[in-house]
């Protein structure tokens, strides 16, 4: 059995993965970049299923510097920077995992515009996205070759 690490701010993805992908994967969960890094350093994983929005995650668990993001993108507006980090957290966690050398295929359940998905692949290698919770599509995305 392959090992799937689900990274999200709730339990919906892992609940779905255990029910519909459980015949092909052993599912583990992480709720932040730090937890995901720890799990990958410990036992590893063959694939990553990542939520994009972490709007339920507390600020201290978010990956990314609110102040730096505010200064760089939002003219110093920290509440907007915090929202941005929450809304885009999944991609930022993936950036952290790739920076640490973890190159497993990653799948998002999100309908990214084609150009954005292309950008994510340029940045992070094996990245796919499926527009809805669809086990067959997610399996196919994990197996697709770059």
């Amino acid at each position: 059995m392959k090992r799937l690490l689900v990274i999200e701010d709730g339990t919906e993805y892992s609940e779905f993965a255990r029910l519909f992908l459980g015949d092909g994967f052993v599912v583990a969960s992480a709720f932040s970049a730090a937890e995901a890094l720890a799990q990958l350093a410990g036992g590893g994983a063959d694939a990553l299923l990542i939520d994009l929005r972490f709007d339920r995650a507390p600020r201290e668990l978010l990956f990314g510097d609110v102040r730096e993001t505010a200064a760089r993108l939002f003219a110093g507006d920290q509440p907007r920077a915090l929202r941005y980090l929450q809304d885009q957290q999944g991609t930022l966690i993936l950036a952290a995992l790739r920076a640490a050398g973890h190159t497993q295929p990653a799948v998002f359940v999100h309908d990214f515009p084609p150009r954005r998905l292309e950008n994510l692949r340029r940045l992070y290698g094996r990245v796919a996205a499926v527009p809805a919770f669809d086990a067959a599509a997610i399996r196919a995305a994990f197996e697709a070759r770059p």
Binding site: E12, E15, F16, L19, F20, R53, L73, F74, A75, G76, D77, R80, Y84, Q88, T91, L92, A95, V109, D111, F112, P113, P114, R115, R116, L117, N119, L120, R122, L123, P131, A132, F133, D134, A135, A136
Partner: protein, 500 residues
């Protein structure tokens, strides 16, 4: 054109209401006036006013006009003073009777004072289109958007009076014919407008694009994605008769526990209606939403069918699910294409030319205006009117600043695109100048509405954009960049009704 027709129709309506009063009963007059109001026709106020107070209907209409005016005035005053309750007061007025077009001006000014420049421009425009003659209104509109102000300046010539030798009866007969033609046309047009699909509404009202994109995003994320589309595998397994343990429970929990689906759907539709106005009941006006509503109703009704063990429940579930999946895809493609403005050299040239056409900025002798090549195919998710308003403000500031200094007076506009770790792309439209006048960062974040940058900052907030102060470089003393996200969607929006 349509508005002009309405304006003329309003006059003719009023004339006809006076001249032909004897030909119709008060009840018929009232029915027509009320119909105009229900259709939100600009002619409604005058039609109500023209009702004879001698009749029961007319007396009640005049009482309601008086009451409505009190609500409207209170709402405008509360809005102007930044007090809560303005929306409620205005809605109370709307519930009573049409608004006097003369109130568009104070309403526009109240919007302007509350940092709502687009709303303000809309009401200034309505005021002028309805024949408002206050000269300051044109100037105030021009401050918000000079080209828009120019449309009403000079004022259109007054309609010529009929020759005095024309017999009154012929005028009334001719007027009645014109009236009938105009009312018929206006009624058809108005009904069509009231029955616009979401696609038609978006095409006709670009100022609604940000709100539409947000509302669609909420509907897709909260209801379609997490409650309905999440059960796709269970739906297919049930339809195939091979559900795994737990899949059925997962499906039933997602679909039928918590807030009932019909209530959740109605909640989202209500949000659309509150944002777009009560006439835009999407279930009635948009085929895609109508079909989706039926599919949601079908899903909701299946709770009982599953509890009873109806044999056809899995297939009915699959059909409803597939319809909603197609609806979600169509919504996604539609929302992606809503708010996109190409950022190219033509736009930058248009901005510079528009500012140079203004009196003050046109007096400044410029030694150099650089409009650099911009990367091809760049678009941002900002309504074009807003983007030009923002860039014109920055360009105007730059030209006036160099005008206060010595030659050489130079300005430059260009565009930079940078990739973010999120896969998004940042677009920076830079306006730089050779003026040594300092510009503080706080000037860029201030909200004072008597300053152009306050308007710019307010407009940018809605698009998740901001202003950035640029240091001296390339022979320019300073610059300001508009930071926006690049629009990455490239699929044209299909008609929603064609897929659900």
């Amino acid at each position: 054109m349509a508005r002009a027709l309405f304006g003329f129709a309003a006059l003719v309506t009023a004339l006809a209401a006076c001249g032909a009063r004897d030909a119709q009963s008060p009840a018929e007059h009232w029915a027509r006036a009320e119909s105009l109001w229900r259709e939100r026709s600009p002619a409604a106020f005058r039609a109500w006013q023209a009702l004879s107070p001698q009749s029961d209907e007319g007396r009640r209409a005049h009482e309601r006009l008086t009451l409505a005016e009190q609500h409207y005035l209170r709402g405008i005053a509360l809005l102007r003073d930044g007090q809560p309750g303005s929306r409620e007061a205005l809605l109370d007025g709307v519930a009573q009777a049409p608004m006097d077009p003369a109130l568009y001006l104070p309403l526009a000014r109240a919007c302007r004072s509350r940092a709502l420049p687009l709303r303000a421009a809309e009401f200034y425009r309505k005021y002028l289109q309805q024949g408002g003659t206050e000269p300051a209104a044109r100037a105030e509109l021009a401050q918000l958007d000079a080209p828009l102000g120019d449309i009403f300046d000079p004022a259109p010539p007054a309609t010529a009076s009929p020759p005095s030798t024309t017999p009154l009866l012929a005028v009334i007969a001719g007027g009645t014919l014109v009236l009938l033609a105009l009312i018929s046309g206006a009624t058809i047009w108005s009904r069509r407008r009231a029955r616009r699909s979401l696609v038609e509404l978006a095409a006709a009202s670009p100022e609604l694009h940000p709100a539409l994109a947000y509302l669609i995003g909420c509907l897709r994320h909260e209801l379609l994605k997490h409650r309905i589309l999440a059960v796709g595998d269970a739906v297919r397994a049930l339809a195939a008769g091979t559900p795994q343990p737990g899949q059925r429970a997962f499906l039933l929990a997602r679909l039928f526990s918590g807030e009932p689906l019909r209530v959740a759907w109605a909640g989202h539709l209500g949000t659309f209606m509150r944002a777009l106005g009560p006439r835009f009941d999407l279930v009635r006006t948009d085929r895609g939403f109508r079909e989706a509503g039926r599919a949601v109703g079908e899903l909701a009704s299946l709770e009982v069918a599953f509890a009873r063990g109806d044999a056809d429940a899995p297939m009915r579930l699959q059909r409803a699910y597939e319809r909603l999946r197609a609806f979600d895809r169509a919504l996604g493609a539609f929302a992606a294409g809503l708010v996109q403005t190409p950022v190219d050299a033509a736009l930058l040239r248009e901005v510079v030319e528009a500012v140079r056409a203004e009196y003050a900025a046109g007096q400044v002798p410029l030694d150099e205006v650089q409009i650099a090549d911009v990367p091809a195919g760049v678009a941002v998710e900002v309504y074009r009117l807003d983007l030009t308003l923002i860039l014109k403000n920055l360009t105007r500031n730059a030209i006036l600043a160099v005008g206060r200094g010595a030659a050489p007076r130079r300005i430059a506009l260009d565009v930079r695109v940078d990739l973010e770790p999120t896969g998004e792309e940042i677009v920076r439209v830079r306006v730089r100048d050779s003026s040594p006048e300092p510009l503080s960062p706080s000037a860029l974040t201030g909200r004072a509405q008597d300053r152009g940058l306050g308007i710019v900052t307010t407009a940018l907030d809605r698009y998740d954009g901001c202003l950035e102060l640029l240091p001296a470089a390339d022979g320019f003393e300073k610059g300001v960049a508009v930071r926006l996200f690049r629009a990455l969607g490239d699929e044209p929006a299909p008609p929603l009704g064609a897929v659900a």
